[in-house]
């Protein structure tokens, strides 16, 4: 669903969207809406670091510690963006992304891979699996947030993540 001032009951003046002040107003308004970000990483440290920054920016965060759990959570709640590691137990990140792209609701969801694997060859595999961006650890969480914001600009949070419809209860977490 694309962004439009009409969504907020505002009748835009002609060429309103080209006015920098108005663009900033709607960008600010947009940033206060709750994006839902799914973090999939077996490292609790990484998930905690990102959660802290993303929640401070107003986003909501759900987590998973492997690819299989990530798929469950993605099906249960419609995430607006997914950030996932590659090397994880049970199901790795590339396998998860491939499965995710088969779901219609995730056909165009931005997917960022966040990994210590810095090789161009592996990034090419990520692209083939369906990832949109490859991020090398460690990354400054604020920089990653800017990239996420950029990917989400012009989009509205999904109806489910914005709280406009009841969410499906999350599946139970896989025991360690």
């Amino acid at each position: 669903m694309e962004w439009s001032p009409a969504v907020f009951g505002v009748e835009p003046a002609p060429n309103a969207t080209s006015t920098p002040l108005l663009a900033r107003f709607f960008r600010g308004l947009q940033s206060r809406m709750s994006w839902l970000i799914l973090l999939v990483d077996d490292s609790l440290t990484t998930r905690s670091q990102l959660r802290e920054v993303f929640e401070a920016k107003g986003a909501r965060v759900i987590e998973a510690e492997n690819g299989r759990e990530g798929l469950w959570r993605a099906r249960a709640e419609h995430a607006d963006v997914i950030i996932c590691d590659i090397h994880m137990p049970i199901m790795d990140g590339l396998q998860m992304i491939q499965q995710l792209r088969k779901l219609p609701e995730y056909a165009t969801t931005p997917v960022f891979v966040l990994t210590s694997d810095a090789t161009v060859a592996r990034a090419a595999e990520g692209k083939k699996a369906g990832a949109n961006a490859w991020v090398v650890k460690p990354v400054n969480p604020a920089s990653l947030w800017k990239a996420v914001e950029k990917a989400l600009f012009g989009k509205l949070p999904s109806a489910q993540s914005a709280g406009l419809s009841p969410s499906v209860p999350a599946p139970p977490r896989v025991d360690k």
């Binding site: 077996d42 490292s43 609790l44 440290t45 990484t46 905690s48 670091q49 802290e52 090397h87 994880m88 137990p89 960022f112 990994t115 210590s116 694997d117 810095a118 090789t119 161009v120 060859a121 990034a123 090419a124 990520g126 692209k127 990832a131 949109n132 961006a133 490859w134 991020v135 090398v136 650890k137 460690p138 990354v139 400054n140 920089s143 990653l144 990239a147």
Partner: protein, 296 residues
């Protein structure tokens, strides 16, 4: 790869402990009683990397031995024991790589062997890559420095409060282990996630594993630049202060001690045989930088 060490000792036990220490470091140790026998052995076996001779053994035939070795194997490393009341060896010092006071202390021997032989197992480019990777990843967490330089580490080690091991395979195999004490881990965690007060053990353990993962990622990036393909696994966590770990390595690991204020970490990198000639190939632009966000 040469991994034999010749110990020359005329009286059993004169430099006792040396053979055990060298064995722990992963060398195959051969004992001979005299320098004459040692020279014959060097002639017969091209795989000897190092000779450790006691002061007593050096009294007879030292000059002939050094002359013979210089002709046969000029790159052979020699460590000579020295007694406080022993004959000055100044005239031979130019032919020796190191003099160690007797009785030979394990730490002194390990440092000397590291200094002389580390390049055999861990060429300087790899050693530098390991150190750089650690400093690159730990940099945001404090002003880390390498304390005491790097050294060879035996395959049997005592573990710290928190350790994490990650294996890698492909065109090179081995593992990276990162260890730290509980107090150091808490200090590091405060830097990583300021504002967290009471930190459960699982989080400290996880942090060590994640740091190990990121450091290994940067080391592997070095190999990828030389077109050596490597894949790494997920971390294994160990909480076992005082316990010992031993792995069936064929040679020593490469150890680095990193310190920053109140936090310190021990890093051990083990690399099995791989195609060293690939290190001579020019670097290819096959890796991304830390924190890089590349759109696909």
């Amino acid at each position: 790869m040469d991994r034999q060490v010749l110990v020359v000792d005329s009286a059993e036990g004169a430099i006792s402990g040396v053979m055990e220490e060298l064995d722990l470091l992963g060398f195959r140790v051969i004992w001979v009683p005299t320098l004459v026998a040692a020279l014959e052995f060097v002639k017969a076996s091209p795989r000897v990397s190092l000779v450790v001779a006691s002061a007593e053994a050096g009294r007879a035939g030292g000059t002939e031995f050094l002359a013979g070795v210089k002709e046969l194997r000029p790159t052979l490393r020699i460590i000579w024991g020295v007694r406080p009341d022993g004959v000055p060896v100044r005239q031979r010092a130019a032919s020796l790589d190191s003099l160690i006071p007797e009785p030979i202390q394990p730490d002194t021997l390990r440092k000397t062997v590291s200094m002389l032989l580390a390049e055999y197992f861990y060429p300087s480019s790899i050693a530098d890559a390991v150190k750089s990777a650690a400093l690159e990843i730990l940099g945001p967490l404090g002003d880390f420095r390498i304390e005491g330089d790097s050294f060879l580490v035996p395959n049997q080690r005592s573990l710290a409060d928190f350790s994490s091991i990650i294996g890698f395979s492909g065109e090179a195999t081995g593992h990276l282990m990162l260890s730290t004490g509980a107090v150091d881990a808490k200090a590091l965690h405060r830097r990583l996630l300021p504002g967290t007060h009471s930190v459960p053990i699982e989080r400290l353990e996880d942090m060590v594993g994640e740091l190990c993962n990121q450091i290994l990622g940067r080391i592997n990036a070095f190999f990828w630049r030389h077109s050596i393909a490597i894949q790494q696994t997920t971390p294994i966590f160990m909480r076992s202060a005082g316990s010992t770990m031993r792995y069936a390595g064929r040679h020593p690991s490469f150890g680095v001690q990193l310190v920053s204020g109140q936090a310190s970490l021990a890093l051990e990198y083990y690399l099995a045989d791989f195609n060293k000639s690939k290190l001579l190939v020019g670097e290819a632009d096959q890796v991304m930088g830390i924190g890089e966000i590349r759109y696909l």
